[in-house]
Symmetry: C2
Subunit: 228 residues, 2 copies
């Protein structure tokens, strides 16, 4: 099994939040995987697959793209391993969180991190990234960076339901981690991989949740070294 | 089993969104219940219980208050009946939705409906409701009503993750309804009970979801007649 991921100049520090969902899902299923680092502009040149984004999972001659489809593929093809969703209602939860977190969490965090991501990129990716992301942001990377603290505050405010439920349980999924936790953890890994910003404070339940997540699967997430 | 609910001048049209969560939960568990209608100002005068709000569930000499605690009580005490949550991850989903929908859905819908609720109330409740709710709104009921369409638009916008997941499945919980569906349905019953506003359009997945919810448990939800 191979997992194609996204890196910058440091090819050990894969920072894609969507790849991190898949890495944690593979850890959950205890499936060994070979990581294949790519930079942005290498992805459209892959000759085996038309995907424009990572993660791409290669398994048994299949190439599965899109992190959600990969999660469903792993759950369906490895039913004897621990369940990634925790049943039908748990899968619905992951689907709901996948959709709802896109606007509430992914977009403000992208706006906060866009410039930091740029600084981590291989030189060959910089022009592509600046052009495509400035179009998406509607402003320059530097102008977005000037509003980093405001966007982090928006992101942080939207974390409150997560903090609320983590007062009564260790993981978003209950007593045990599942895919909904990996969706959120991917965002923390994204920030950790490209930036020195602080997303949550030590007095918040999420702070302790991040530590619990870091220790899963032999400390898998800790391959990303804090910056700055 | 008795369920204390909230009514206005028409004692058959209980409109509390939190009571509706419980009514649907009792339907899900196929538990017969006697409804006990109360008006707002009767609740603090109950001599058997210190609850300030409904629902209150009376069972075997116990009085359980707070809709979430009632849901957990029903799940724990009637484990042989259909599961209300669909397992631990499903319970976590319901908890997450309970928290996240409070700010995204309950508050804007309350702001949109506050004046309409007032018009349905028993005369003995009107002074209490106006005083307490105007303090909460920070404006008069009439001023809130002037912004009804704006608040409905905010509510509607926040429904998008629900519409998104209902493109691929019949219920928020998956192929079968569960408590997270009852949380949302309570809001639709609230609006139906006090107002003639339209919450969703016929081209949205949620429109068809409401019809499916209406038909559950012998058409339980249809005791609330559309107004206007």
């Amino acid at each position: 099994m191979k997992l194609y991921e996204l890196v910058g100049t440091d090819r050990t520090q894969g920072f894609s939040p969507y790849v991190w969902r898949t890495r944690m899902a593979l850890g959950h299923k205890a499936l060994p995987v070979e990581m294949v680092p790519l930079i942005f502009t290498e992805i459209p040149k892959l000759d085996f697959c038309t995907a424009k984004t990572v993660p791409i999972l290669e398994h048994d001659g299949n190439y599965i793209t899109d992190s959600w489809d990969i999660a469903c593929y792993l759950e369906d093809n490895f039913p004897d391993r621990p369940s990634l969703f925790g049943g039908a209602a748990g899968k619905a939860y992951a689907s709901f969180f996948h959709f709802s977190s896109f606007y509430t969490l992914v977009i403000p965090l992208f706006q906060a991190l866009a410039y930091d991501i740029f600084t981590c990129l291989d030189d060959r990716d910089r022009e592509y990234f600046r052009r495509s992301r400035e179009a998406r942001l509607g402003k320059s990377l530097e102008a977005a960076h000037d509003r980093q603290s405001e966007n982090l505050a928006i992101f942080h405010k939207q974390l409150w339901p997560c903090n609320s439920i983590l007062k009564a349980q260790d993981f978003l999924s209950g007593d045990h981690p599942a895919y909904v936790d990996y969706i959120l953890y991917g965002l923390f890994q994204w920030a950790r991989g490209v930036s020195s910003v602080t997303l949550v404070n030590a007095d918040e339940p999420l702070y302790h949740w991040v530590r619990r997540m870091d220790n899963l699967f032999g400390g898998l997430g800790k391959v990303i070294r804090p910056r700055g």
